[in-house]
Amino acid sequence: MSRVEIMTGNQAAALGARLARVQVVAAYPITPQTSLTEALAQFIESGEMKAEYVRVEGEHSALSVCIAASTVGARAFTATSANGLLYMHEQIHWAAGSRLPIVMCCVNRGVGAPWTILNDQQDSISQRDTGWIQLYCRDNQEIIDTVIQAFRIAEAVYVPVMVCYDGFVLSHTLMPVEIPDAERVDAFLPPYRPHTILSEADPRTINPVMFADPRENAAGVLGDGYMEMRYKLAGALTEALKTIQDVSDEYARLFGRNHGGLLWEYKTEDAEVILTGMGSIANEATIAADILREKGVPAGVVGIRAYRPFPVEAITHAFRKAKSIHCLEKALSYGFAGPIYTDLRAALYGSGCEAAMHDYIASLGGRDIQPDTIAQVVFERVIKPEADGRFHAPLWINCRTE
């Protein structure tokens, strides 16, 4: 039977990994991910969870361990934040290129320098182009459910999944969480079947050097070149759009909770002003939307759950009636704009959506952002709308810009 307990986001993630019957954990502690790795150590040492825990000497090694363990056929999990994620960068590419269904929690934190231990999303956004699926959670219930779903998704398309949630805002905040029943999770998530078996019966050298062009092997069979393998990875990410939605729908049927698959929407039926974002800030935007509605502005929220693959079709549908779009971003492509803004503009171009688009940089390095502030800045833009659809540099909220 499922039961409800009060727990932090990190505890929810650890429980999710335990329910997913992870076989190998490798992690290096970093704030604010730390209590997640501690919880897993507690589970494994106490015997509540049967897994190997490799207490590595750094994050690069953490993901290296997961890559090798996943290659040999074990379900592998890791978690990190900020500079730990950046230190893994080489291996993040390697895991996706190896088509390994590893799941990693990124407990989002701002990136140094200067040091901050507090939340924004610059860490996971900077790993956008590595070939991983990225899912963003808005509360602790979504974290436990998404970690379980992530293994189903990853093992269906052989692409690793990064489950992202905001450091401290979720990782250290207590919320009631319904813990799914273990037997039903087992039915939902069958054991992992690796795509390659490392065995002397069929000796293979995994991930060797490639030539530019396809080549025949000793038996005369034409193998892929590097480019074909990369094309297949790109195709797997596209295929994952359907997988993410299907897995979410099936999970909703079995467990009664639907976090929206690719996107979630709040009061969008009649909304002309749509706020959007990822993670906890998108949740906050729902309160801002209510405040705006009190002021007579027909506002709603589209929360982006799947950032990679970017759900262009779902986005086009969700924003089709918008007159203005307001992107709340905890990351920035320095020298340009926020990542959601740039991706949304690209996705909506030519779709018939004529909405004016506004970009807001908020909450970097843990700077507080309140729903009424969000409502205020959106309101100011709505009553003085920019008539054209041209690119406009982002507005930094709650920041001394003078």
Binding site: Q23, V24, A26, A51, E52, V54, R55, V56, E57, G58, H60, S61, A62, S64, V65, C66, I67, A68, A69, S70, T71, V72, G73, A74, A76, E90, Q91, W94, L198, S199, E200, P203, R204, T205, I206, N207, P208, V209, M210, F211, R215, E216, N217, A218, V221, G223, D224
Partner: protein
Amino acid sequence: MPETLFKINAKEYILPGNRSCQGCGLSLAYRMALKALREKTIMVIGPSCLCVLHGLYPSTAVMVPGLNTTFASAGAAASGLVAGLRALGRDDETVVAFIGDGGTFDMGIQSLSGAAERQTDFIYVCYDNEGYMNTGTQRSSATPLGAITSTTPLLAKEEHKKDLVRIMEAHEVPYIATANPAYPIDLYDKFVKAKKIKGTRYLHLFIPCPPGWGFPPKDTIRLGRLAVETGVFPLFEIENGRFRFTGRSRALAERGHKIPVSNYLERQARFGRMTPAQVQVFQQWVDRRWEEYVRRAEADAKHFSP
């Protein structure tokens, strides 16, 4: 000696035709190592000469399953294989990382140290060709003093080689050995022994490299022997803390007739610009280390004997 030769596994694990250079010391050492390791071996390979020897997709010259990993991660990748195999109940397989000096002395030292400190149950082999040979003979921290490399092209390397064996010994691993393809039976025996031991085992292989060091491919064995005869690369093993010379080095230590290092240096173009003073510094460095080893061997023989 012939008795041992007949015991060597006749099976070949490297198919005829691979991409190593003519006279490659690595291909000789790897062939003997795989014979000694036999079946149920999984190899971790770094981006190195061995990666090239294994073959370019979709062909491989090696009949042992191998996992390529990034430069810095061999120790961690091996740890992951060991953990994964254990989680799956496959506990009769031996994980071996076979990594160059760049991936060991330099970029890979962190993950190697981590794996050794955790006493990960695997064999780590450093095949030391004393530089980044696969990328075209750049200096590594395993390059000896006086060697010209493509990143020390005019002045030659001004520092001595890092003593990695001593670093590994500080991890209190159960078995450490040095070996050299010029002494294949000694090398074979050490791999056979290493396979039987639990915990982290470290083997350091001296790998003469004709193009990187500048000597004719026919002289690989000669160079390997001269490195031992001069005391530049002594053959030994350290088993649970006990140091013991093996093979030719034991004979040299007992009879005290190692030959001057100039015999070794003068056959390699990389040492072509060494001054007599530098040769003397090199000789003193070799002598000091050799004497330490001899004292250690004598002390350990007394300390560990009943």
